[in-house]
Each structure stands twice: as C-alpha cells, then as structure tokens.
Amino acid sequence: MSQNIVVIGGGPGGYAAAFYAADLGMNVTLVDLEKNPGGVCLYRGCIPSKALLHVAKLINEAKDAKEWGVDFGEPQIDIDKLRGFKNKVVNKLTGGLGILSKQRKINFVQGRAKFISSDMIEVSKSDSSTEQIRFDKAIIATGSVIATIPALQIDSPRLLNSTTALDLPAIPKSLLVVGGGYIGLELGSVYAALGTKVSVVEFMDRLLPGADQDLVSHLQKRISASFDKIMLQSKVVEMKEVADGLTVKIENKDKQIEEQHYDYVLMSIGRKPQTAGLGLENTRVQVNERGWVIADNTLKTNDDNIYAIGDIVGEPMLAHKASHEGRVAVDAISGKKVVFEPLAIPAVVFTDPEIAWAGITENQANAKGIKFELAKFPWAASGRATTLDRSDGLTKLIIDPETERILGIGICGPGAGELIAEGVLAIEMGATVKDLALTIHPHPTLSETLMEAAELFYGHSSHIYKPAKH
C-alpha cells in the first residue's frame, strides 16, 4: 500500500517534494495558501524580480548603446504594462505548476494547514470550512517570511518590503533601501533603472557581507554610479511619514545622525522562518532558539513522521537548496539511504554585474584556516567580455594546493549566475584545476574565463602574461 504524504507549502521545496513523491507512487496532498503551487519564489521572489531585472538590464544596455553609436532616446515607461508583464510571467509559471500537479494526480488543497497531531493536519480554507487529512509522513515546507524591525515598522504605503516593492506601486523619485543584501540590491537596481534615485544603508562595512570583496568591488563601483548614495556602517534609527514621503534618521559609524527625506523606503533586512500557526506544539517537532525547525541530515525532524525542508530548516534560504532537500526527504521517506550532503550550493546575486559563487569562499577559507591558492582571471582579458563592453568582471578559483582540487569558485560579471553551474559541477565531481584547464570551452564566450583562470594557475593563460611562480 502506498504511503500517504502531506506536503505543507507549495514553494520550490514543497512542490519539488510533492511531485517527486507522486512520481514514486505515493499518495500526495499538497497544501498551499495560493491557488497554484509556486510559493514565494514564483509569486513574490526569484521569478518576478528576475522579470523586472531583465527589463532593468535592457534599459541600462540601451543607455550604454549611446556609446556604441545607437541612441534609443529616453525610455518611456508604462508602469502598468510593466507590472502586467511581470504578472503574466508569474501566472504562466504558477499555472503551469498547477497543471503539472493535476497531471500527477496530486490532491492540491488551498488553505492553511495546522498539525493537530503527529499524523493529522487540519486545513482551514478560504470559505472558512475545514478539512482533516491523515498522513503517514508530512513534509513541512512553509518557508520564510519577511523579517521586520518593530521599532521602524510604521503603517505607511510608502514603506515597502520585498513583496510590495515587486508590485511597482509607483516609480518613486527617491528610494532608500535598508539592508545591503541581495534582495535590497536587486530591487534597488530595478528602481534605479526605472529612474529612481536609490540610496542604500547597510549596517556592515560592506555590501553583500557573504560574498568575497573582490567580487563585490566591481558591483560596488557600478552601483555607486547608478545609485545615489551608499551608506555603510550606518543604520536607520527613526522613520516618520510626512506629507510627501518619509523622513529617515540615519546614524553613521561616528554616531552622527543625519535626517534624510525619501519618497519611499524599502526594508530588506532578511527573512525569518514561517512556523507560526503550524501547530508544531501538537507534534514532537522541535525548533531552535532562533525559530528554525531542527531536522537531521535526512531532513527528518524530531518527530518520526514529519520532515522539514527549505527555508524553515535554515540558511541558505535558496529555492534550489529547498528543492534538493525536498527530493532527499522523499527519498528518505521511501526508505532509501540518503542524506543531504552537497559539496556546493551556488549563490547568485542578480545585480548588474551579477555575482555568483559556489563551494568555499575566500572569506570562509580564511576564517576556517583552510589552506588555499587563488587563480583570478580578470574579464578585461576576455574577448567576449570586451565585445559586450563589460570588462568589469572576475572569475576566480579557490584551489587546494596539495591536491589541486577546486574548492570554490567565484564569478562577478554579466551572466555569472549561468556560468557558476559549471563551477558547481566541478566542485561536486572533485575536479582538479587541471581538469578545468584541459576542458575545451567554446570561443568566444564568458565560460572561457573559467578555463583561463585554471590555466593561469599553471602560468599559461593565453590572454594574460603572468609567468608561473612554481
């Protein structure tokens, strides 16, 4: 008899788990608040933001084209139509998931699920009816919600978060982005391209604190030109709504407070686990002191019947991590001996230039005392980058000096998000620098920068003269 599986949450973790479980012949119920699967990623995250970033890129390139002898003039932006394009993308993809779910005969229930025991959930539906569903195994995939700073949380339509910012309420004259992480920088880039004067305030001494500084510096240089102001080691201490916007008090590292006026403010300080109202107290599921559900390396929680995947089990909160976890959890439920053990989880920041990395970063290697050697290939030496008029890029390899195994890869430049996949494969396969150097890469492409970085390690990159030190 096949197992009854309930998956709570239809994001990229939840639907991947539900679809895979159905493919393995399990009876699957998928519960989500929306009409179709998709979750934050498709409705309010990765996908809509990428649709807008694509437009931003087009605007910027059109601007750059003046230098190449093509002048399109000032862009005329129809914000309702732009919003419509974004919504069309979202609807197409989520609708597609709905069909894929039906084709797999998954019992999709729209509503809010709550555990009432270790083998039963109750779903409250929008028509205020409830349904109880018994399960053999459940997978919690409820993800995360936007984190807030209560002291700064004022009730104003001008205070945006990542969800409302994607709805493009207006093209503000000025926007303050609170938080220099990837969400703030991506959305800030969108608005900057649309013509908004964007400023960023970040508490740390640098943008994108997780990424290596040499990757970030190219981005920082470019957004310093396209953004209005980047305030590091600074924080917002007060926010007030006024007639034509918001006044914000910003304290810098010397404790000096400056008052600024912005049309809109976007809070993007992070995300936190979504466990509220799940009824975990009716199960043996345990959460840690920061609210993440505790799961072992098979994604099983403290309750033998309940697994948890995705953002709710902790960092990195990435869709591709969640979907991989979802498949591992289903494999574990089906009795296979599997654990979640990736050697690399790629991280991509879809700014312009993009930043992507996988495996060990230079920061991590230094922090952990891991011995490494670097091979850095600047895109100024790349033919393809030059044809794009984009020499502001870098491809770097972090290498184990003893085995010459590739431990980490970092890329900055247009298309870095696509390029990193090769690096992830190299790390997962235990590839050595030699392997990368000896693999023929197509010319002229940006992917050559990976090969050339590897050749540089041996001192024979064709396009950089740098004699070998060893």
Binding site: P209, G210, N297, G314, E315, P316, M317, L318, K321, G335, K336, K337, V338, V339, E341, P342, L343, A344, I345, P346, A347, A358, G359, I360, T361, N363, Q364, A367, K368, I370, D400, T403, E404, R405, E428, M429, G430, A431, T432, K434, D435
Partner: protein, 553 residues
Amino acid sequence: MKDFKIPELGENISSATVIKVLVKAGDTIELDQPVLELETDKATIEVPSDVSGKIIEIKIKDGDVVTIGQVIFSVEFTEVIAQNAVSASAGTTPVIEPVAELNAGSVDVPQKTATVPTEQDFLLPELGENITTATIIKILVAVGGTVEIDQSVLELETDKATIEVPSTVTGRVTEVLVNEGDVIPVGAVVFKVSANVEAQVQVSAALQTTASVVQTPIITEEKVETFTPVNNVPAESPKVILVDNQPPVLLNAAPAAPSVRRLAREIGVDVNQVKGSGPGGRILLDDVKAYSKALHQQRNEMQHIRVEQHQEPLPDFTKFGEVESQPMSNIRYKTAEHLSYAWHTIPHVTQFDKADITALEEFRKNYAKTAEKQGVKLTVTAILVKIIASALKKFPQFNASVDMQTKEIIYKKYFNIGIAVDTEFGLIVPVIKNAEKLNVIDISKEINQLAERARTKKASIADMQGGCFTITNLGGIGGTAFTPIINAPEVAILGISKGNIEPVYINGKFEPRTMLPLSLSYDHRVIDGADGIRFLRWVIDAIENPMKFIIEG
C-alpha cells in the same frame, strides 16, 4: 575459458588509451572481429580479437589506459587458436586478477505464492539506483531460525558492489525460497517468516548450507592493501559548518562525485574512508566498489576467521585434460575449514622420537587371548590413550587451550582423549571421556564402540566434543614419521607410525628391537621446545617401563 589480452601494438608502445570498447559482456564474438578502438602515442587503431566465444566480463572501459598483455575480457566455449604474431607474449601483470565468474546464466525467479495470514514475506528490497537483480552469495538465515529487523539475512553481489541485506521483518523463518547462487530481482520473495517467534537459537548458516561453490571475486593483494578498510576507527566525519548566512561548507569532504557519494551511502560505505585513485585523490565508482569488496572480505574473515579466503584463482584445468568437479561433502568442507584454521593460527612444532615396544609387543601377544575373552583387541592406541591421560596430568600445559583475545591459557582438569578415525566419508575424531579413570580394557571397548558408531554414521555430536588431546595412528598402513596438524583448540597431537624391527645398540651389541616412531606436534605458543621433548620422552619411558608407569603414573 580464454582471455583476450592487449596484443603487441608496435615498437616502443607499451600502453594505449581505450577510445571505445566495441563489444559488451554477453556478446558472442568471432576471430578477427574488431573489439577495441585504441589510441597509442602514434595512432588510433582497431584491435581484432584472437579468441572467439561468448564474452563473460569486460574488465576495462572507455578511457582506461591499458598495457600490452593486460587481460581485457574472457570468453567461454572458445576455440583456442594458435597464438599468432600479434597475440601477447610477455606482459605486465594485470592489476586485477582474472576473476572466477558467478554463474549468472540461470535466472531463478521465485514466484510469489499465496501467503498464510500469519506469515510475512521478506522481499528483496531496493538496492540502489538502476540495480534490478543481484546474485545471492550467501543466505544467512535458515528455516527454523529467527530473524529480527536489521539482522543481516543475505549477502548479495550486485553490479555495483557486495552488500549485506538487513531484514525488514521479524519472526521465525518458515521457508527460504532462494538458493545461493541464484540471481533474483528486486521485489522477489526471499523467505517467509511466521509472526509467532519461538525462542530458538539460529543455526549458523555455515553449518546449514552445504558447501557452496560460489567463488567471491578476488582482489589482488595489492588492491586489498590500497583499500584496507579502517572502519573500526571512528574517523572524523565532515561536519556541516554554517558561516553566517553562507551555504554550508563540508570540511574535509571526500572528493567524490554526487553519484559516487550516493552509491557509497546506499551500500553502507563511508565514502570518507575510501582512498581515491583519481587525480587529486578523487574517489571513483570503482574505488568505492573495491573498498566495499575489501570491507566485505575483511568482515568475512573476522566473522569466520577463515584465512583461506585469499585463494588464488584456479587455472582452467580442462586445457590440460579431462576433469570432473564434485561438490565437497559437508565433512570434507568442515575438515578443510577447521584444519586450515588450525594451520594458520597455531605455530606448529613436530617432535619425532621412537619408543622400544619389544616388551610391550610381547606382552600384547601373550595377553591377546585374555583380552579376546573380554571381547576386545588390545591395541597400542588403547595403551597410549591410558599413558597420554597420565602424561597430561604430569604436563598440564599439554591439557590446555589458548585464548589470545583475553590473553589467557585455559587449563583443563579433565582428561578426554580424541582418536582420529578414518571413515569412508572422511576423518572424524571421537573422544574417550575421562580416560584417566578407565583401564586399558575399558578404553579398548570404548574405542571400538565409538569407531563403530562413527563408521555407521551413528556418532552423536557429543561423541566428538570435549577432547583435550588427539592421537592419530597411521601405523596400520605404514610410514616412518609425519607431521600431524593439531586439532584446535587443543594444543598437541600424537601421531603414531608403523613399528619396525631395528638394530639397537644395547650393552655393547646390536639387538633387534621393535621400534615405534612417534610424532608429537604441539602449539609453540604455550609449549616450549624442551617441554615438548620432555613430554614425549615421558610417554616413551612409560611405554618402555610399564612398572615405572604404574608406580609413578
């Protein structure tokens, strides 16, 4: 069986890279059929076959570097043709020895039959991705035995590795539907259990099954060394460490592809323990498989303490003439196992000497009729049983066993003497219990009864157990001396050869005396050389001076 080896490829070419293997296992190939595409320093060439027949297994794959003379595959039912100029002469030794093939020919798929409600089936579980069948190497359960969840019930050889399969059911085994050597598919019913668990000791599979002729593929010594498993040492496994909001870093993670890591986990191998043979120590699929085999082999040795696992592959005897294979009898197999164990674990020393039995023989002749009246034949063996029982009292280190694990010597306060008996179905050793309390006539009677029971297959296990020392008398057939193997866990054995009349120099002249050759093998771990000869001299003295024996013994 005939091997196809890489032929000479040209001057100064010692190796080549395999671009493409043009045939696969199971193919029937003909002479001169191209089988490999090779790339040498000089050119890409197609290599024709110099054997014909059905390919059993291909030992290389695309991309491998092969050396001249390396065995690429074996064919069965080949017509051996005259070796022509291109076939290999001398060559480097292949890393992996030719492997005795499992008989994958007959696929015996047990059908699922209607089950009684109280019964539960154990089905062959999923063994890993793309594994649909497996060959049973050993069945670790027997009808009547009980199984528990997670208890190992099968040893399997799959395409990927040798694995032990744990039970998912619990109960008493009522029926085993498969045999060793069978190839069974995933989902096949392996055995049935009844839910009513009776407290019953599970009979060891080794005793239950007749000697199987399945040969486990052998890894050469070199390979085994490379992959020596160190599974007893809890090595530091990589921990997922979170640095800020970064993806986890697996520190010291083994360089193995995701598919390799997944396979390793499926077959119960800690990938971090595997030594990678690829560049930068990369762990290849083959490394995991080899490690698994080595691990399996080591476990086998530890479980059964059988050292003879390292068998060399047998040549194809049919090349030399007609042969006939017969299964070993159970006694023969147990004897082989037991004696191999004794031979490998006990450092043997054999001490030779002779006893003058002229007087004894005279007495035996005179006493024969008296003995006959009591229904027995007075034998040298019976007399020696009595003497040895006394000798064991004098030399307690000869009535002992060694426990190397606890570093103890166990001294026995009873005196049971085993006598090796040659029967038509093999060698067995019935034991005369408490020999020190019996007189020689009683001992003779006992020997007769035990030997009779043994020859008529009526001897009980109890008849064979509890021995302290064994006597083996081959003198009835002949021989001047031999080196008997100690019947472990005993520590000594006395071999008797044929008594002969010899000239012995006594009181200034040679006299014809009947001399009996004795061969005493002892365990040098507990018995020193001086004690060995002291013991034997004491026994000889007792034979030659019975009055002294009566007084002192």
